[in-house]
Symmetry: C2
Subunit: 223 residues, 2 copies
Amino acid sequence: MAVRTSLARKGGQRQSVPPPFPSIAKSFDLAGATTAFSRNEEVFGEGEPAEYLYKVASGCVRTYNTLNDGRRQIGAFYFPGDIFGLEARKLHTCSAEAITRSRLQAIKLTELVSRIPRGMVLNRLLLELTTDELQRTQSHILLLLKSAQERVIGFLLDMADREDSLSEIELPMSRQDIADYLGLTIETVSRTLTRLETASTISLPSSRRVVLRDRQALNQLLN
Amino acid sequence: MAVRTSLARKGGQRQSVPPPFPSIAKSFDLAGATTAFSRNEEVFGEGEPAEYLYKVASGCVRTYNTLNDGRRQIGAFYFPGDIFGLEARKLHTCSAEAITRSRLQAIKLTELVSRIPRGMVLNRLLLELTTDELQRTQSHILLLLKSAQERVIGFLLDMADREDSLSEIELPMSRQDIADYLGLTIETVSRTLTRLETASTISLPSSRRVVLRDRQALNQLLN
DNA sequence: CGTCAACTTGATGGGTCTCAATAGCGGTGG
DNA sequence: CCACCGCTATTGAGACCCATCAAGTTGACG
């Protein structure tokens, strides 16, 4: 799978940003073996020691926090090639679950140093991963400030960029997942999608498939 | 000034987290000389090359993004001892301004390596700074999901922790700054503060001074 | 005492949440 | 093949929270 260029929002405008150098982190092979995870299976839980780094070989993973009022905030979705599980401190500050049946490469952080490519320092790898995460998180903040319609459109465009497809998206996650990522309710997400379909800017062959019919209109609605 | 312990929200609950090691980054002296900035003076602008790292010697700084609908999103406030200006890529993705008359230490990134304490690697310093930033950003997301009252209370408690005062806060920033940080309007911020004062959980000797009168009640209102 | 900026307060409307019911979809078994 | 089931998604009606627009208040400074 090709290394993806990450996305950044600058001034609220969508914009592709090339990586600072051909992303070593993402193309870096963590380990040979993969572990299988079934749908909704937990990869790690909040509060557990953060000893491993994971790379998605196939499938899709979500990380989330559980708020004390019971709501769930999804922090990020990870697709094949993405690396996750890195934490600032010793413990995980979020939980991770497989969304679909997935295969993950895992490597113990303490063993990582021996697998690092010649000439690369551990701190540089970690810095790169943390930097990517920071950019994603900052974009996420800007997304949460907007109207429901703008959030949903922003989400769809992000997904379209992350899948290789030009205009047809296969969503592995449920409406609840989307809602918890965007800080909305499933009803609002559903209504917004319906309204976009009515306006002929997208079409919904099935609930998990979205076709972007008019990207220009979508970008305009981002305001 | 003492090195502060940073804050993290876990499960939406407030919780102090000790730094992984006595924060080298924050106690690290960037340079001898300081530059003065007047109120509202720009330190750097979005899109400019990110060549310097800044450490607040006195005063207070805000970083922000301007959205394309004209709104402004404040990403963070920086107080004495805090370091800012580090970017993932070559250019600044946000602007920075002094909130009050401030003095800042600045050092060119390219010169940084020569000033790094013996035995420390550049990447480790950068990693530490990025990690701090990531934690702040993640907390910020969780704050933006809550009700106006919870956001304002969360903000006040954060400020109280960052100032050394136990219960009396001196806010250097305007209502507009607070609103743009919390994703609210100034009216909502003002009304919320008034309501909290009416409920005797805080008092407002002046608009920029806040006394936390009942921290237990405040924590309870965080839900 | 006038001016200006910052802040507060009030009235109103709109966007999203809540609660509730209906519809679709995949699986399982008769 | 069809009936049934559970789960997911859609649709509707009403309430509530916050934004908006507008007016009034306060405080600093000349």
